[in-house]
Symmetry: T
Subunit: 148 residues, 12 copies
C-alpha cells in the first residue's frame, strides 16, 4: 500500500502532549507519547519518521524552521488557538503541514473551535484519538505523491 521510497516526516507535538497516557485519559486515551511514536515507526517501516516535543512555543518554531523533513505532522496543543508566530513559521516553511488533534476540538470549549494554524496547513484531522497521527502520516504521504 505504500511506496518503497522512503519519505522523511517530522511529527511535532506541542505543550502538555508529553503527558499523554498519564493524565486526563478520558479525553486523550491511555497511550503514552513514546508508545504513539513507537507505533508510528512500526506502522510505516519504509519511511523515516522523526519526532519532536516541546512545551515552549519558540522551540516549536525552531523545529519547523530547521527540519529537513519533507512533511510535518503538527499537534500544536494549546498554541493552536493563540500562536500567530507558529502560523507564520508554517507559512514561511515550504513543507506540507498536516494539523492533527487527538480530541474533537469542535465539541469542547469555544476558544478551541478556532485554529490560527489551519488556514496555512495543507489539511486538518481531529477527533480520532491517537489514530489521528497515523491518518496524518498517510495524508502526508499522499500529499508527497505516495500511493494510498
Amino acid at each position: 500500500m505504500y511506496l518503497c521510497d522512503m519519505a522523511k516526516i517530522l511529527i511535532i507535538n506541542g505543550p502538555n502532549l508529553n503527558l499523554l497516557g498519564t493524565r486526563e485519559t478520558d479525553t486523550y486515551g491511555v497511550m503514552s507519547l513514546q508508545e504513539i511514536e513507537n507505533q508510528c515507526v512500526k506502522n510505516f517501516p519504509k519511511h523515516h519518521i522523526s519526532f519532536f516535543q516541546s512545551n515552549i512555543e519558540g522551540e516549536l518554531i525552531d523545529a519547523i524552521q530547521r527540519t529537513n523533513a519533507e512533511a510535518v505532522v503538527l499537534n500544536a496543543g494549546g498554541y493552536t488557538h493563540t500562536s500567530v508566530a507558529i502560523r507564520d513559521a508554517i507559512a514561511a516553511s515550504e513543507l506540507p503541514v498536516v494539523e492533527v488533534h487527538i480530541s474533537n476540538i469542535s465539541a469542547r470549549e469555544s476558544f478551541r473551535h478556532t485554529s490560527l494554524l489551519s488556514p496555512v496547513c495543507a489539511g486538518v484531522i481531529f477527533g480520532f484519538g491517537v489514530d489521528g497521527y497515523g491518518l496524518a502520516i498517510v495524508a502526508s504521504l499522499r500529499l508527497l505523491g505516495y500511493d494510498f
Copy 2:
C-alpha cells in the same frame, strides 16, 4: 492491514458534489463523484461501501435515518454550515459519523469556518482533496474497531 470481516459504510455527499470533476476543478480536483466512488470500492475491497448523493437537505436526513450501515462518511457541502436539522439527525443516529471536506474550509470564506455538524461527529478531516474520502473510510474502520 484491514480485517477480513466486512464493515458496512455509507458515503453521503450533499449539494453540488454531484458536479465534482466538471466544475471549479481548481478547488475540487478533476475526479468525478463516480470515479471517487469507484476508487473507494476498489481500495477497500473487503468492506461494503455504499453511496448516496442529494442536493436536498431533507433527503440527506432521510439517508442518515434509514441507513443500515455501521458508520457514515459525510460531506454535507454547503449544508455543513447552516443545517441544525442534519446535526440533529446525526446526533439522533447511533452511528459514528466522519465529516469530510475536499478543500481546506478554514482557508476559504469565513462562513465556511464554522461547521454545525462537527460537534456531533466522531471526527473531521479536510483539506486533502478527494483523498479525504479514503482517509475517512480508514478512520471509520478504526472507529469500528478494525485494525489500521
Copy 3:
C-alpha cells in the same frame, strides 16, 4: 370545556421528529410520533386534528401553504433556528400558528435559543415534553374563539 363545533387543526412536525420515542429518549421521551398523534385525536374528540411530518424544509412550506385547517401547531425541529423560508410561509398564511418544542430549548445549545419563527407565530410553548402538543391545541382553540 370545549365547544361542540369542530375546529380543524393541523399538527406539523419537522425534521427528525419522526424518530420520537425511538432515540434520545432522555431528551424527547418514549412516546412515538404515532402515539402522540393518537393521543391528540383522543383528547380532542370534538375537533378535527390532522397531521403532517417531513424532513424536507420545502415540504413543510408546502404543507403550510396548502392546508385548509383553521390553525396550525408547528414543531419545525432544527429548521426553527435557520429557516427564513418557513417564517415567510407562516407570515404569508392567514392562520394562527402555535410554535411548540418538546424540550426546553433555552437550556440547550446557544444556537437553539433563537427562533426565526416565533415573531410571526401567535404564541410559543416549550419545555413540557410531549404535553406541549396538547397545550398547543388548547391554545389554538382559544385563539379561534373556543372556550377554555
Copy 4:
C-alpha cells in the same frame, strides 16, 4: 379532565402587572389582574391557586423562597430579562416553575428576546394573552403528574 386531588399552585406576577387591564390594553388586554386571578380560581376549582404580585425584585425572590406551593407560575415582567437573582432563586427552589408572558416577547424589542429565567424553568408559554395563565396552570398540573 383534572384530578380530584388538590394541587397547590402559586401565581407570581412581577412589576407593572398590577396595572393589567388599565393601561396599554392593546398589548396586554382589558382584564385586570384581579379578574385574571378570579378566573384562574374559577377554572380550576379542585386546586388551590394562590397569588402574589410585587414591583420589587427582592420580594419576588422572597415569594419563591417561602412558598409552600407545589408549583409556581411566574410572570416576572421586566425582571425576566435582567434578573440573575430571580434566576438563582428559581434554581435554588425545588419547585417546577412555568414562565409565562402575556405578549409575544419575541416580536417586541430585542432586549425582550432573551429571558434569563427560561433555562432554569420547567417550560415557557408566551403570546396567548391572559389565556397564558390558564395554560400555565394546566402545564403545572401535568408536571405534577395530574392528568390532562
Copy 5:
C-alpha cells in the same frame, strides 16, 4: 415667563442620589438633594413640585404608578442602564417623563452610555450638573403646554 396656573410635577431620584453633596463631589457637585429640592421649589413658585427618592427599584416603579402629578422628572441613577421594569412603568404611565442625569454619562464608563429608559421618555437632559433638574422642569412645563 411661566404661567400662573399651577402644574404638578414629581421629581423622582433613584439609588445613591440621597448622597448628593456629601460624596464624589467632583462628579456630582456640592449641593445636597435637599438643597436641590429647595431650589426647585423656590425657582418655580407657581407650580407644585413634589419629590421622591428611593434606593429600591420597585419603589421607583410604585412612585411612577401612583403619582397624581402631570409630569415626572426622573433621575433613575444606576437603574437607568439596567431596568426594563422601570422602562415598562414609564411606558405604562400616561405622563410625560423627562430623564435627567447630573453628569455627562456619555463621557463615563461604556455601560453608562446606554439608557434603557430614554426611548420611552419624552426627552433627555444630561451633563449640566444639578442645573439639569431646573432645565427638566422647564422642559416638562413646555411639554404640558406652558409658555417658555
Copy 6:
C-alpha cells in the same frame, strides 16, 4: 432595442413566491406569479424566457445545475439569506446570475439585509416590485452582450 438573436433566460423563483398576488399584497403587489411570467414573455418576445418555482432548496439547486439557459434571474426568497448550498450552485455554474427581490430588503428585518448569494451573482436588483423581473432580464441580456 433588443437583438434579433434569441437569448435563453431562466427565471427561478424560490419559496413562497408561488403565493404572489394572493397574500401580503401590500408588500409584494397584486400580480400573480403566472401573470408576471406572462408579462416577461410578452415584453421580451424575441427571447426564450423559461420559468421554475419550488419551495424546496435542493430543487432550486437542481434547476441551476441542469438548466441549458444562458443566464439566470433568481429570486431565492427566504433562502437568499441562509443558503450556502445555493451559493455554491451559483458559483459552480458558468452562467451569469442576476439576483432580484420584489421588496426593498434593506428596509425590512435585519436578517434580510445580508444575502449569501450576492457575492457570487453578477449583479443585484431590489425594491422595484415586480418590475424587478423585467429589469433583471434587461440586465441579463446586457451581460450576454445584447444591446440595451
Copy 7:
C-alpha cells in the same frame, strides 16, 4: 417603449466618480463619466436627464435638496457606507431615489456591504457596470408611472 411625456431625472454621482474611465478600469470600466452621461441622454431622448457630480458630501445633500427633478439616480460612492446626512436628505426629499453602484459591492471589502442609504431609497441596482445607470433610469421611469 417609453412615454412621450418627458420626465425630469437627475443623475447624481459622488466622490471619485469623476475619475471613471481613467483609473481602476478593471473595476469600473473604461467609459468616462462624460461618456456615460452622453449615453444616458442619447438612450432616453424623450426625457430630460440632468447630471451632478461632487466629491463633497454636503454638496450632494444640496443637490438632493434643490433639484426640481421628479426622480433621482444616486451613486454616492464612498459616502454610501458612511453618510447619515445623505440618508436624511433622501428621506426628507419627496422624490423616488434609485441607488446604483457600478461594481458588485457585496463582493468587495466588508465595509462596502452595508449601505446606509438603501433603506430610504426606492430600490437598488448594483454589479452591472455602467449599464446600471441605464437600468436605474428605466426603474425611475417605472416608479414615475411610465411604461416599461
Copy 8:
C-alpha cells in the same frame, strides 16, 4: 431671570436642518429654521445669539474654529453619529458646547443612538422638539455663570 450682561452664543445647525418646517413635519415640527432663530433672538433679548447652518461637514468645523462666541449650541444632524472630525473640532475649541436634537434620537434607528460628539460636549438635550434650542441656550448661559 437672566443677567444684564450680554453673552455671545452661536447656534450651529448641520445638514438638512435648513429644511425644518417644510418636510417631515411629523418628526421635526412645523417651525422653519428662520422662525426658530427669530424666536431665540426674541426670547433672549439681553444676549447676542448668532446662527450658522451648512450641509457641509468641514464648514461646521470651520464655524466652530472661527467663532468668537462664548458658547456653542450644536445640532450636527446626521454628522452627529459619524464625524470624528467635528468631535475633534469641539475638543480643540475652548468653548462649552451644548448638543441638541429636536427628536428623541434614542427612540429612532439604532445608528442614531450613539453620538460621537456627546463625550466632548458639556451636556446634551434631546427630544423636546424645537424647544430644545431654548433649553440649550438656558443651559449655555448657566455654564457661562449666568443665573437661571
Copy 9:
C-alpha cells in the same frame, strides 16, 4: 497574628444567600449562613464583625450607605452581574470593599464571568467555598493596616 485593636467589619450577603446550607449544597456547601457568621465571629474574636442579608437590591445599597463599619465584605449574589446601582454605592462609599463569591464564578455560566462590582472594589476572592469569607476578613484587615 492579628492586632489587639478592634476593627469593625460588615459582612453583606445578597439574594438567595439566606438559603446557604439548605439547597444546592453541591455548589455552595452544607454550612448555613448562620453557621458561617458564627464561625467568622469565633475566628476573629478581637474584631467586631457584623452581618446583613437581604434579597432586595436597594436594601443592600442602604446597608452600604449607612454602615459605620471600617470595611465591607460583600457577596452580592446575582446582583453582582447586573447592578450598576450597587456599584455606584460602593464607589460613593469611602470604605474598602472586598468582593467574595463562594463558587468559582469563572467556571459557571458566561453571564457570571463579568462582575460590575469588581472594578470599584479593593479586591476579589472567589472559588474557595465558605472559606472565602474568612479570607476576605483577613484581606480587609490587611487593607485597614492590621498585620497578617
Copy 10:
C-alpha cells in the same frame, strides 16, 4: 492557627514579575520578588514553600508538570489572558492551583478582565497587592485540609 504537618506549596511567578519592586511601583508596590518570597517563608514556617519564576511560557508549563508540591500558587502575569497552553497544564495537573494577581485586574485594560486560567483553577484572589500571595497560601492550605 496552622497545622504542624508540613504542606509543600510552589509559588510560580510569570513574565515581568522578576521586576517587582523596581519598576511601576505605583501599580505593583515596592517589595521585590525576593522580599515577597522571604516573607512567605517567614509567615508560614511550618510549611515548605518553594518558588519559581520565568518569562518563558513553556517553562511555566514545565514547572507545573514537574513539581512535587501539593498545591500551586500561580501569578501567570501577562500569560493569564492569552495562554491556552498553561490552562491545559493546570487542567492536566492533579494539584489545586490558586490564581493570584497583585493589582485589581478588573479595573485595568479590558483585555485583562478575562483570565483563561480561572475556570481550571480552584479559586482566584486579586487586588490586594503582595498580600495576595499570603492569602493564596492560606487558601491553598485550606484546600489541602489544613485548619484556618
Copy 11:
C-alpha cells in the same frame, strides 16, 4: 544622504490640523502648521515640498485627485477613521501615499484604532509628534527610489 534630483511631494493635512500649536498642545505639541511646513522645506532643500490643508472631506479628495506630486504624505485627521471616500481616492491615485499621525492613535479612544486609509497607503507612521512629517518625507523618498 539625499539625491540631487528633485522629488515633488505633497503634504496634505485634514480637519483641525490648521489649529496645530495653538490648542491641545499637550497632545499635538507647540509648533504651528506653518512652522512645520517651513521646517519640512528647510530640511529637504533639494526637493519640492508643497502643502494643502482643508477641513472639508471632499476638498482633500480633490487635492489627491489633482496633484502632480510624485508622492503624498497624508494626515487625514478625524477623516482617517470614517472616510471611505478618501480611501477610494487614494486607491484610485497612482501615487504612493504615506499616512502619518502626530499622536499615538493606538493609545487613544478605541474609534481611533482603526484607519480606513492604512490598507491602501504604502505605509504608516504615528506617535512621533511633528517629527512624523519628516520621517514620512524620508519614507516617501525611499519609496520613490531615492537613497536614504
Copy 12:
C-alpha cells in the same frame, strides 16, 4: 544630520524574522537579517546599534528587561498580536520603544490589524519594507533628543 554623541540602540527581532531574505521574499524582501543589521551599522556609524533575535517570547522579554540601550526598535513578529507579556515588559521598561513592521500589516489578515504593543510604544512605523528599520532608528534618535 546626526549628533556626534553616540546613542545606544537595541534592535530586537522576534519569531521567524531570522528567515528574512530566504523565504516569502515577495512579502518581506530579499535582504537577510544579517544584511539589514549590517546596513543599520553602516548607516548610523556614530551610534552604537546592537541586535537580538529569538523565536521565544520569553527571551524577547528578557532582552527588553536586561538591555542597557537607551532606546529599542522592536519587530515582535507574530507576538505583536498576541503577547500581553511583551506589552508588560515594554510598559515596565523605561526606554522609548519604536514598533516596526516590514509589511503593511493593515492590508493583511484581520488578526494582524491589532497590535497589543502599540499603545505602550512611543510610536509605530510599518509598510516600508526593510527601510522601516532605518526610519525607526532615526525616530529613536529624535525621541532621545538627537537632531534630525
